[in-house]
Amino acid sequence: MASNAPTGMPRSGRHDRGRPVEKPKNIGKTLKKLWAYVGRHGIKLFAVIFFVIASTLINLRGTSMIGTAIDGYILPGDFYGLRRMLIRLMLVYVLSAFFSWAQLQLSVNLAQHTVADIRRDLFEKLQLLPLKFFDTTPRGDIMSRITNDVDTISNALNVSITQFISSTVTIVGIIGFMLYLSPLLTLVVVVTVPLLIAATNFITKHSRIYFKQQQKALGDLNGIVEENITGQKVIKVFVKEEDIKQKLNVSNTALRDIGVKAQVISGVMGPVSTFINSLGYGFVAVMGALFNVPLGIITSFLLYSRQFARPFSEIAQLFNSLLSAVAGAERIFDVMAVEPEPADRENAVELTDIKGRVDFENVDFSYVEGTPILKNINLYAKPGQTIALVGPTGAGKTTIINLLTRFYDIQKGRISIDNTDILDIKMSSLRRSLGIVLQDTYLFSGTIFDNIAYGRPGATEAQVKEAAMLANAHEFIRRLPQGYQTFLSEDSDTISQGQKQMLAIARTILADPAILILDEATSNVDTRTEVKIQQAMLTLMKGRTSFVIAHRLSTIRNANLIAVLKDGEIIERGDHHELMRQKGFYYNLYMNQFAE
């Protein structure tokens, strides 16, 4: 009789009622894909459904047996029979509890395995996606798919589905048992149902409007809070505290007032359904009494009528949570459907013994069709040469790097290494032969040792140390309390930006690539560190073909070739002295940036 009591598990309570629900676009297709995951655990799923139905029905049967106990044994005074009856009832309840336990255990297991599979597949899929995906999809968006969306699915599998089944079974079961006991009283109870549904609908419809407004007000407020907390120091400097407080208060009050409305209307649901419940309860008692229905049957009915309303409102809520789960699943499967990086060509080769010749021939490229970024690029690097790419922001320097690494593929022309088209080289082999030091140094959480060894798993301590020395990093690492075992966490402040760059250089030195791609940092690094980084870069470049997005004068002066890019074209090329003599774009750039 208490099988539907609230469990210890958190589930959507009445506060969620009327939250706007996101509608999935293609339910059928998404469900089919979802089934591919759930279906793997088909036996468990089957067992869960079986246990839910069994425990619900057995429990309902118990309630009707209470009535029998009253009419058949208590009123006639047959205590021997009563004891037998109650022992049977106890067995029924134990069995029902066992089934419900088994069901809960299994459904947790099922849900967790399913979402773990989905999470893993999603992550593995992400590893295959081209850079374009990451450049065009906000990171928060991807994160929310692997956390929030997976969560909703897990919740739906864990709670909603079993609750949906048990609610349905409860409704059908109660009607069945009631009909069996007394068709008349059944009618009385059932009359309250449309009332309940109408009330639920009415309230849900209204609260949804308010919740939408509340959501918007909350969004506005969050925007104001975020902007002004971020800009707090500016506010202080301009003595704007009072103005900003006013602004927040307006928004805060608006949220409060709409919040009251939303909360009240959703809070009305509880009392209203209690009222309808009591109404049913009263009708049963009165009608039962008027029509001389046996006392035991009235008792069973009173117990049933207490359980009858909940499944209806539960189903209404579950429907919403199932819908948002499907919408979540849809977003996940959207990612899984994104075109991965192109597979290696059939006859793709491994690069061995690389000399380091790199050619760009008539290369055209655009990120978005119709807006060309690079036009007819021709660039030749002989083994060991340094090519400096110079030009204003947006000229296409970074794009050239993206193409050589095949982060993006060219649309026209040919890029080759040692005369092999890079499209004919295995992707892994190509990228291993290239070393990239980017402007934004990215390190992973882990020890300094692990970070340096990132590009060469299994590197020995001596190798790591040697790389660090060459990168001018050994000196500062040695001075850290934990040395190479110092743990770097996300956004850690343990080491400075400049030191991070040196670690990135050490990482690339250890990976020992034949060809280098460098994006010189412009970030705030003081002059002394700057010199150290510069030395490390030079060590790294020694003997390697290097493409450098150059900001440092020394790099540019020492380059074998300077390619000046403007609007996607190479407009000047030559070494420093040649270009200075030309008195063209480079000359102006140089005079502007570096001359006194």
């Binding site: 208490a2 099988s3 598990m9 506060h15 209470i66 009253i70 208590i74 009123l75 205590f79 106890m90 309840y93 419900s100 809960l104 947790v108 395995h113 999470r119 992550f123 593995e124 590893q127 850079l131 991807i142 994160m143 692997i146 909350l218 969050n222 925007g223 809070v225 975020e226 971020t230 800009g231 707090q232 301009f238 003595v239 505290e241 407080k245 919040g259 009251v260 909360q263 009240v264 809070g267 509880g270 009392p271 209203v272 209690t274 009222f275 009591s278 009263g282 009494a289 008792t299 207490r306 980017l438 959480s445 990132y454 590009g455 400075s496 002059t527 010199v531 510069q534 020492n558 502007n592």
Partner: protein
């Protein structure tokens, strides 16, 4: 939570009305089974249809009253919670507005935002829960117990036994599952970290062909999370079956014992039925209560976080005898100034700085990152307070000057150019809300911002997104310079605020400042020597101390840090062989 109670005070009436209303609802729910028992015992026994119908109507009235009570409670509880939350938010925000830079540095931006948004929403939910659920459940239990005892005290022993067993189970399960759910949270954090790092470093991952390693890392975190979650839920899902068994056993025992009492006439059958309703209500309330308590215990962290802000007192306030109108010329004197961050154990950030800046002078400050340059200038408008020595402006200690006056008369362009949503003109008027269009234009010309602003379709009315997202770094810096110029301050400070401006424009800005703001004292922090080499005085800060000071030529001839920086910057190739 206790400290936050004072925010409920203004709404005491509502906070009292809510439980009273709940009283009505609970009362109705307790009275209904009683009426039912009367129907059974008197109505059915006597066959008096009139009585039965009368009782039926009474029941409907009771139910209606209950509904009114319930709705009333929901109304007052929600209202209290919402007003309570809004007031706390207002107070917190006001508190943050009064914070000094030291206070602000202590709380991270994102953490302050969370406190003002999520944490408050949670607190509001807790208040609603307390005023409704936390009142309802104990009330229901007490009322139900009283009724039960009134009907038959001996049967109530069974009820007590059931209660004790239930409390025992619930506390065991909670204490077992709590640590497990903590581990689940750690597991989720771990997954998020791996994920976030992979996304942020995707270029590195791909460049080093480490996708497989990343997959392994993720799979490990993923499996770990799955296993721990299953374990945690396994414990908590014991609750329902256990509770059901306890509840049902109690029910059966009551039918068994009660049946005897009915047959010997100690109790009517209506009583027995009534009794069974109460026992369900009581035990259900207990389960609700345990859930509520679990939720409230989780809110502990929220209240702590909110209180932490409310309890933080700003450490920079006006002194009682603060004066204004004292900044006339703009002469700044640092006298043996020392500064260290509170609770820091290391060397002070600034040590024994003595320095005089004459009115109208331009002073350049150079030094490594972390040398203390920003801190030095932040001390002038009291964004931080000195920990030793003093700073005076035109002979008055800054700590004796009214904060508003002081900050309004010192223009400081911060390192990070932050703009706010709104039009460009609105942003510029931060400096002077009554500035005329001509004044705005003039400030923009000096800041080298006029040309690009006018090139926008909407010119000065161009709307900026949050934080000025649709502008480049250099553009933001120039607007924030113009914004500061509009204050027409006596003292102007640039904290490395042209780093993203191209060299040509920077030169123009420098020249504009020199010609148009000749009487203003100017302090310029820079990374590039070229930004400050023409200053009247150049100061080199090293490890929190003034290492060198003088003009460009003087410092160059000293062959010290300055000349080393100068050489590396202008002549980097000397390092390269």
């Amino acid at each position: 939570m206790r400290k936050l109670l004072k925010f409920i005070k203004p709404y005491t009436l509502w906070a009292i009305l809510a439980p009273i209303m709940m009283f009505v609802e609970v009362g109705s729910e307790l009275v209904i089974p009683k009426i039912m028992a009367l129907i059974v015992d008197i109505g059915i026994a006597s066959g008096d249809h009139g009585y039965i119908i009368k009782m039926g109507i009474l029941m409907v009235i009771a139910a209606l009253l209950g509904a009114v009570g319930g709705i009333g409670c929901a109304y007052y509880a929600s209202k209290t919670a919402m007003y309570f939350g809004a007031d706390i938010r207002e107070e917190m925000f006001a508190r943050i507005q009064s914070f000094s830079f030291v206070n602000l540095d202590k709380f991270h931006t994102s953490s302050m935002i969370t406190r003002l948004t999520n944490d408050i929403t949670q607190l509001q939910q807790i208040v609603t829960l307390c005023l409704r659920g936390l009142v309802r459940s104990p009330l229901m239990m007490a009322g139900g117990l009283a009724m039960a005892i009134a009907i038959n005290p001996r049967l109530t022993l069974i009820l007590f036994a059931a209660l004790v067993i239930m409390v025992f189970f619930i506390s065991v399960i909670i204490s077992l599952s709590f640590p497990l759910f903590k581990r689940v949270q750690t597991g989720i954090d771990k997954i998020n970290t791996v994920m976030r790092e992979d996304l942020s470093g995707i270029r590195v991952v791909k460049a080093f062909v480490r996708e497989d390693k990343e997959k392994e890392k993720f799979a490990e975190a993923n499996d770990n999370l799955m296993n721990i979650t299953i374990k945690a839920f396994r414990t908590i899902t014991m609750t329902l079956p256990l509770m059901t068994i306890v509840l049902n056993s109690a029910m059966l025992l009551i039918v068994w014992r009660g049946g005897h009492y009915v047959s010997v006439g100690d109790m009517t059958s209506g009583d027995l039925m009534q009794y069974m309703t109460y026992i369900t209500q009581i035990l259900m309330s207990l389960m609700m209560l345990s859930m509520l308590l679990m939720m409230i215990s989780r809110a502990r962290a929220c209240t702590d976080r909110v209180n932490e802000i409310l309890d933080t007192d700003t450490d920079i306030v006006d002194s009682p005898d603060a004066v204004s109108g004292v900044i006339t010329d703009g002469r700044i004197v640092f006298d043996s100034v020392t500064f260290s961050y509170p609770a820091s154990t290391g060397d002070p950030v600034l040590e024994n700085i003595s320095l005089t800046i004459e009115p109208g002078e331009t002073v350049g400050i150079l030094g490594e990152t972390g040398a203390g340059k920003s801190t030095l200038v932040n001390l002038i408008p009291r964004l931080y307070d000195v920990t030793g020595g003093s700073i005076t402006i035109d002979g008055v200690d800054v700590r004796k000057i009214s904060l508003d006056y002081l900050r309004k008369n010192i223009g400081i362009v911060l390192q990070k150019a932050l703009l706010f949503s709104g039009s460009i003109a609105e942003n510029l008027r931060w400096g002077n809300k009554d500035a005329s269009d001509d004044e705005i234009k003039e400030a923009c010309i000096t800041a080298g911002a006029d040309e690009f602003i006018e090139s926008f379709k909407d010119g000065f009315d161009t709307q900026l997104g949050q934080g000025g997202v649709n502008l480049s770094g250099g553009q933001k810096q120039r607007i924030s310079i113009a914004r500061t110029l509009l204050k027409k301050p006596k003292i102007l400070i640039f904290d490395d605020s042209t780093s993203a401006v191209d060299t040509g424009t920077e030169k123009k800005i420098r020249e504009g400042l020199a010609t148009r703001l000749g009487n203003t004292t100017k302090i310029i922090i820079a990374q590039k020597v070229s930004s400050i080499m023409n200053a009247d005085k150049i100061i080199v800060i090293h490890n929190g101390k003034i290492a060198e000071q003088g003009t460009h030529d003087q410092l160059l001839s000293q062959n010290g840090i300055y000349s080393e920086i100068y050489k590396t910057q202008t002549n980097l190739e000397t390092e390269v062989e």
